[in-house]
Amino acid sequence: MSATTTTNPPEQSPQRAAFELKGSLFTLTIFYLQSSDLAVITQHLRDKIAQAPGFFCHAPVVIDLNDLHDPVDFTALVALLRQYQLIPVGIRHGSEAQSTAALAAGLPLLPKQRAVKRPDTAPEPQAPEKPLRKYTRTRVYSKPVRSGQQLYAPDGDLIIIGTVSGGAEVLAAGHVHVYGSLRGRALAGVHGDNHARIFCSSLEAELVSVAGNYRILEKPSDIAKLHQPVQIYLESERLMIRPLT
């Protein structure tokens, strides 16, 4: 299993890793660009700042190019925005030429929003962007998962119809369902989804984990739950194991 997606039990990593990678969702301000004329943009920015000085305060923004088809000098635009304490972190809805120019200026491309609705007034700070559930593909596996096998659903849920043997490992970005005995390791929400859950017909697992919060089942209170159908989920950072009845 890749050390990048979950916290490893300490006994498995004698030396602490220098860093960890995890996914997370943020609400960002969108900067709807309607002109490529830097002078016009400067004028507008000045007006905004005059209305509410210190409002932007190093706010990260995403430049939306849905309304603008002219070529943009991104290097100059980035410098301008930074001058007014806005930190551009990427662009979206750019044309092919705009996207290429943005990448060249070091701005990443962010995914498109479905059904773009543009507010009438230009930059509307704090406009909450609906977090996108990016994974959708469910993987269904209907054979036993043997010791040493690893099954991974990187984009969605994982459904296993059969047992997961000791020494096997099943991972999913979303939920993990095991219609059989779960004897190996099961890790749900490996990209950091706190809402992912693990379901199984009989809990005999070596280790269970949701969004990097892992647990080995050796406490007497855990052992009482063994051999039962259960669901496992996170409740305020705590991994809960509850009978499925």
């Binding site: 036993p144 010791s147 000791g166 004897r183």
Partner: protein
Amino acid sequence: MARVIVVTSGKGGVGKTTTSASFAAGLALRDFKTVVIDFDVGLRNLDLIMGCERRVVYDFVNVINGEANLNQALIKDKRLSNLYILPASQTRDKEALTHEGVEIVIEELKKRFDYIICDSPAGIEHGAHIAMYFADDALVTTNPEVSSVRDSDRILGLIASRSRRAINNEEPVQELLVLTRYDSERVERGDMLALDDVLEILGIPLLGVIPESQTVLLASNEGVPVILNERSDAGHAYADMVARYLGEERPHRFLTHRKNFLRRMFGG
């Protein structure tokens, strides 16, 4: 059409070679032309168990390298006219078994024999992989003990994903469980895993249960497959196993502990 049968286990010392020797001898006793190949290059033992160690001149690796032909390397069993042994090389290592070389030998043997038994080395590396790669059936040899069961589970995963049948998307390899060294007394005491526990974990059909028996060691030392010992429990169990493999119905024996005569007399 000839069938290729691998005897494998993952773990060492569980009885792969004993099973290979007896299973091959059992098929030969039933008048099938049978050859048993030792894939354990560098640690060959099959020749000892079959009692032909003094007759090894050329071996499997010599044939693969074109240094000898199959007729020169195949050793005819002293007791059974239908049984041949293809010994491993003791002075080489597993890398000598190339995919192409092994394939040519197996295809050639398929023309001459009904059954080709491949005695796999322990482990999951190249030697074990090539032994199971060409198989149609797999006899997964397991002891009633947790580490052996887990290793068998691992091997089953490899057979299901990395055998030729799996890679070519053909009908999967038929996986059959052979539970060896089964000591019903220790199972009853709870020292050993019971048959049902093993079946539940591995989830494959049972071909045979071979009881723990002194006669197995004796047979190995004498170089006679234990199936040829008519007074051995283990020999009878192997004979039943061969019959079941050939499609006969045989009840599973040796599953319950039977107190011996003296202990019954004196209530021990």
